[in-house]
């Protein structure tokens, strides 16, 4: 699966038609990930369908192994990645400038994301994520809109610094072990550390680094400033890939590294994490309310929703963590859908300010329906995938934190409905300005396909969350003891 995007990039560079090759590569990977789901044995909680071969053994360093595999935690994220990649490459307009590079970079992002999720070696986990970030910077810097220079510069700064802090944390973790036990392999580390945990001081220091590092990547308050302007400036397909997929890497890292390996350190940081995640939910919730442009609002909204995911991680029980994985998938799908549709709106009207838009439902019923469904998913309506995810997080969160904190968290659900429905109202309902009389709807299979795919996935998981939960929950339980 890692090879396919590479082959795709190769073919594109060899002057094959880029969009077709990109879609074919994405489709192939999507099929493979579905096959992986079928092949996956949910009776086994551990890693399966993997590969573990020595890669390099540099003198003085622990051996770096190319260790990849699937378990109940990364399999859902792999499915998310391939689904969103397929949708993202399909919505790129045919007349994009420098198409070869654009599609190569998109596939490179996808490759990096897949690699980061399936790696069980810290070195590869980190490097693959970096590989995915580089094309992100370039895609926003070159193909972006509005103030792309500033946005991509800010995003690059934040994410690069965040990655450095993260790297420091990972190194500190490896260094904290006695020399003969040092390893980059997550499973080996977990085996060692469950037998003899690190002392409290090391745990706390390392978790501090990891929280800042991963937190920046996931736009944890107050490290979120890069996100909204970045997504507003990014081309729709890039916003879909980053907000939908790549951003989840930070959460994934916390679940893989901080929660199982450093439980005491994580507990020590809990009060601060709670303040930060309430900042995501309430502070950013209010900030989102004041936004006047569609893409910026969606950017802030995606920052806000990270608060729920952090809450689920903070609660650290099998219910809340199962919810986190499910909501990561659901949020990825719904955020990708929203950013994609916002791109269609901007492309058709040349406008993204709420004050100038209105009444589009009359001319573009498909666009309106899809946007309403995406909005309903985003605000956690039952029947769509986000609801069971949020629900499990709320139950798990209540179990850990009780009435006081949960009352604050749940008020975010009201705030979310306020801004998301206002967006629907401003863009699609009311009077249609005369200059938009002639806009066209999203028509035809090729144009509608990616959106139908995302909506179908949201609906399917909303009705049958157990399909994923049956693989997620055993893996989460294994992680927690």
């Amino acid at each position: 699966m890692l090879l396919i995007p590479l082959v795709g990039i190769g073919l594109i560079l060899l002057k094959s038609p880029p969009k077709i090759v990109a879609i074919a590569a994405a489709l192939l990977n999507f099929t493979f990930s579905l096959v992986a789901l079928m092949q996956f044995n949910s009776q086994i909680a551990g890693v399966q369908l993997g590969l573990n071969i020595p890669w390099v053994h540099l003198p003085g360093l622990p051996e770096i192994r190319f260790h990849i595999g699937l378990d109940g935690i990364n399999l859902p994220l792999l499915l998310l990645t391939t689904t969103v990649t397929l949708a993202a490459v399909s919505v790129v307009p045919n007349d994009i400038k420098r198409p070869r590079e654009f599609f190569s970079y998109l596939l490179f992002m996808s490759l990096g994301a897949i690699g980061a999720f399936v790696s069980f070696d810290l070195f590869f986990l980190y490097i693959f994520h970096e590989f995915a970030l580089i094309p992100t910077f370039l895609l926003i810097g070159i193909w972006g809109t509005q103030n792309r220079q500033f946005a991509s510069m800010q995003l690059t700064l934040y994410l690069t610094l965040g990655s450095l802090v993260l790297l420091a944390g990972v190194l500190a973790l490896v260094l904290a072990l006695p020399v003969q036990l040092r390893s980059f392999d997550l499973l080996v580390l977990q085996r060692h550390l469950s037998q003899m945990p690190l002392n409290d001081f090391s745990q706390q220091t390392i978790v501090g680094f990891l929280l800042v590092g991963f937190g920046t990547l996931v736009s944890l308050f107050p490290l979120h400033s890069w996100a909204a302007p970045g997504y507003a400036a990014a081309p729709p397909s890039v916003a879909m890939m980053h907000a939908g997929v790549l951003k989840k890497f930070g959460l994934y890292g916390l679940i893989r590294i901080a929660v199982p390996l450093l439980p005491q350190g994580f507990d020590a940081w809990l009060p601060i994490l709670l303040v930060c995640l309430l900042g995501n939910i309430l502070y950013i919730g209010f900030v989102t309310l004041a936004q006047k442009e569609l893409q910026t609002m969606l950017g802030f909204s995606s920052v806000m929703h990270m608060g729920y995911l952090f809450l689920g991680i903070a609660a650290t029980n099998e219910t809340s963590l199962s919810g986190v994985i499910l909501l990561m998938v659901a949020h990825g799908l719904s955020a990708a859908l929203l950013f994609g549709l916002a791109g269609e709106i901007q492309q058709r009207t040349g406008e993204n300010r709420f004050a100038e838009l209105g009444g589009l439902a009359k001319r573009a019923p498909f666009l309106a329906t899809a946007f309403v469904i995406a909005s309903m998913a985003s605000i956690g309506l039952p029947g769509l995938a986000n609801f069971p995810g949020e629900l499990l997080i709320f139950f798990g969160g209540w179990h850990r934190f009780g009435l006081g904190i949960m009352a604050l968290v749940l008020w975010g659900v009201v705030l979310g409905a306020v801004y998301q429905l206002r967006a629907v109202r401003k863009v699609f309902f009311g009077d249609l300005p005369a200059r938009f009389e002639s806009i066209t709807d999203v028509t035809g299979t090729a144009q509608r396909g990616p959106y139908v795919l995302l909506i179908a996935a949201l609906l399917f998981l909303g009705f049958f969350p157990s399909i994923l939960l049956q693989v997620i929950t055993p893996a989460v339980k294994l992680l927690l003891n």
Binding site: L58, G60, L61, P62, I127, E130, F131, I134, P135, F137, L138, G141, I142, Q149, S152, M153, Q154, L157, L167, L171, P222, S225, I284, F286, V287, L289, N317, E318, T319, S322, K362, L381, P382, G383, F387, P388, L391, L392, F394, F395, W398, H399, R400, G402, M406, L410, W411, V413, V414, A417, V418, L421, R422, R425, F428, F429, G430, L432, S466, L469
Partner: protein, 605 residues
């Protein structure tokens, strides 16, 4: 599994209509009405006990840990459920049939019927749910179908605003409801309505403060859905939706879901907490009086009925609060008949007058649209508690229940009954009698049979619905209804007839044959200025906070960091430009090389 089609049929219809049949109006209509008829048939079969309920299956199940959660999709069916199913599918079917005529010329009929089916699916899900989470799922889904149907004519800014308002008010209520559900689960360890002995005793041994908190939080859901004060503001605005929607969703069924939920959880939760009961009874009684006062000064025919609905819902909620859930369900049932009738008849009037809704632009309609008039009049008599009609029995039951425990609510119940007679007869005298006040009112046309037939059927039910020979009341109360032998029975009987007489006669003297309203009470006409207070209070406040925080975020959280690194950023900007040539491989190589270097320097000591 035959009974499963109760839910599947409308779901299939909703999906088919909304995805494929948006432009095939007649097919959508046929499918929607047909599936509603299937649901009705199944409800009847369940009522007579001809078919079993379906097996439950686990939607979510996480067990063997610290925070176990199992959410089944399963049915809980008792007499209350069966009666509610009959009401929802029966009234639903009549409204579907009425809509064939009412929506005949609308361009969005396919969408309309699809959304109506979506509503039926969600509403029936609430009724059969056997646990809190399942109820909450369908609870939210009726919310969204209500949102879609209120905003059906989305080009009208008023309709779009009303849809948002309805959704948000419900969200605020659900905020409390969800907390209540979480709290119930953390106490009992389950989300099921039916508790096993261990969970039940855990619940019973909680402190009264805990139980009151739990009861009040769960009641929040009812406050949103059944539009109790202070979240009542969305229901009158919801009248922007098509009139059949107002009849089915915003009068007969969905808004009653809050009451149904309270009845469903009465034992074990509410019955254990006197504190919660008092809160519920007070809010209900207050809403009943408050909305009736506003209704006396409204001029829009649908809004008068909307405030009347609020007031009647207040009665039902009050009944639950004074520990008479049977009376609440009885009134819910009769109210569904006569309020659906009144709305549909009002729809027939509006249809006849080409979208005229102001009663002062009507007049003298009684002989021009006789069927509509006759059915509307019967509905009015049923609502106002004319002796022998449905509302007479069910409303008296509630007032009587308050007699011993809450003299204050007893008085409120009677005063509201008088006010109800007053505003309803004001409406009848102004709209149907006197001279025609406008050109439109001179030449109305009676509606077609597809619209009048449901009116006639509902009128019959409104008349006979309360008769004990039908046994609706004793069926709901499980045969324990103590008919007519409670203390204060004859006194209550006398007083409520007096209330009817006072209300209707004063309406006659004030409004019969009048050209304009002789009374002006701006406080009532402006709904106690609640909308203005909300708009200038909480809403403005929230917007102000949002603006301030957005400014802070932009200039302080974002600004400082960026300004602090302005120097670095210039460099990065330059560096980025180098890479805009697209030399991705080089960059990737540099990165891995750099990482390995760092690894070396730190690990190799």
């Amino acid at each position: 599994m035959a009974s499963g089609w109760l839910l599947f049929a409308p779901l299939i219809s909703a999906l088919a209509c909304l995805v494929w049949l948006r432009r095939k109006h007649d097919l959508a209509m046929f499918l929607s009405v047909g599936t509603c008829a299937i649901s009705f048939a199944i409800a009847v079969a369940l009522f007579v006990g001809a078919i079993p309920v379906p097996q439950p299956w686990n939607w979510i199940s996480i067990t063997g840990g610290v925070a176990n959660l199992t959410v089944p999709i399963g049915w809980y069916v008792d007499n209350t459920t069966k009666m509610m199913l009959l009401v929802v599918t029966g009234v639903g079917l009549l409204v579907h049939i009425f809509s064939i005529g009412y929506m005949a010329h609308d361009e969005g009929r396919g969408r309309f019927f699809g959304e109506l089916s979506l509503f039926m699916f969600s509403m029936l899900g609430i009724v059969v749910a056997n646990n809190f989470v399942m109820m909450f799922i369908f609870w939210e889904l009726v919310g969204v179908s209500s949102y879609l149907l209120i905003g059906f004519w989305f080009q009208k800014p008023a309709a779009a605003e009303a849809a948002n308002k309805a959704f948000l008010c419900n969200r605020v209520g659900d905020f409390g409801f969800l907390m209540g559900i979480l709290m119930y689960w953390s106490i009992t360890g389950t989300v099921m309505f039916q508790l096993n002995a261990a969970s039940a005793s855990t619940l019973a041994t909680q402190t009264s403060a805990t139980l009151t908190t739990l009861g009040v939080l769960l009641f929040c859901g009812c406050v949103g859905k059944s539009a109790m004060v202070p979240l009542h503001v969305w229901l009158p605005d919801a009248m922007e939706g098509p009139t059949p929607v107002s009849a089915l969703i915003h009068a007969a069924t969905m808004v009653a879901a809050g009451v149904y939920m309270l009845v469903r959880i009465f034992p074990p939760v509410l019955s254990a907490s006197v504190g919660a009961q008092e809160v519920i009874a007070t809010v209900g009684g207050f809403t009943a009086l408050f909305a009736a006062l506003i209704a006396t000064q409204q001029n829009d025919i649908k809004r008068i009925l909307a405030y009347s609905t609020l007031s009647q819902l207040g009665y039902m909620v009050m009944a639950v609060g004074i520990a008479a859930p049977g009376a609440a369900m009885f009134h819910l049932t009769t109210h569904a008949f006569f309020k659906a009738l009144l709305f549909l008849a009002a729809g027939s009037v509006i249809h006849a007058l080409h979208e005229e809704q102001d009663i002062w632009n009507m007049g003298g309609l009684w002989k021009k649209i006789p069927i509509t008039f006759a059915t509307f009049a019967l509905g009015t008599l049923a609502l106002t508690g004319f002796p022998g009609f449905a509302g007479f029995f069910s409303k008296d039951e509630i007032i009587l229940a308050a007699y011993e425990k809450f003299p204050c609510l007893y008085a409120i119940g009677l005063i509201t009954a008088a006010l109800t007679a007053f505003y309803m007869f004001r409406l009848v005298f102004v709209a149907f009698f006197g001279p025609a006040r406008t050109e439109k009112a001179e030449h109305p046309h009676e509606s077609p049979a597809v619209m009048t037939a449901p009116l006639v059927l509902l009128a019959i039910l409104s008349v006979i619905g309360g008769w004990s020979i039908l046994g609706i009341h004793s069926y709901i109360a499980g045969g324990h209804a103590a008919e007519g032998h409670q203390p204060g029975h004859s006194l209550t009987l006398g007083l409520s007839i007096l209330a009817f007489a006072v209300g209707s006669l004063s309406a006659y003297f004030l409004y019969f044959n009048k050209k304009s309203d002789p009374i002006r009470i701006s406080l009532f006409a402006n709904k106690f200025y609640i909308d203005e207070i909300y708009l200038n209070g909480p809403v403005k406040f929230q917007q102000a906070i949002a603006r301030i925080l957005a400014w802070v975020d932009n200039w302080i959280v974002g600004g400082c960091l960026v300004r602090g690194t302005a120097f670095v950023s210039n460099l990065t900007g330059e560096a980025l430009r180098l890479f805009q040539t697209g030399s991705l491989q080089a960059y990737a190589f540099l990165f891995s090389f750099g990482t390995i270097l760092i690894l070396y320097f730190t690990l190799l000591r």
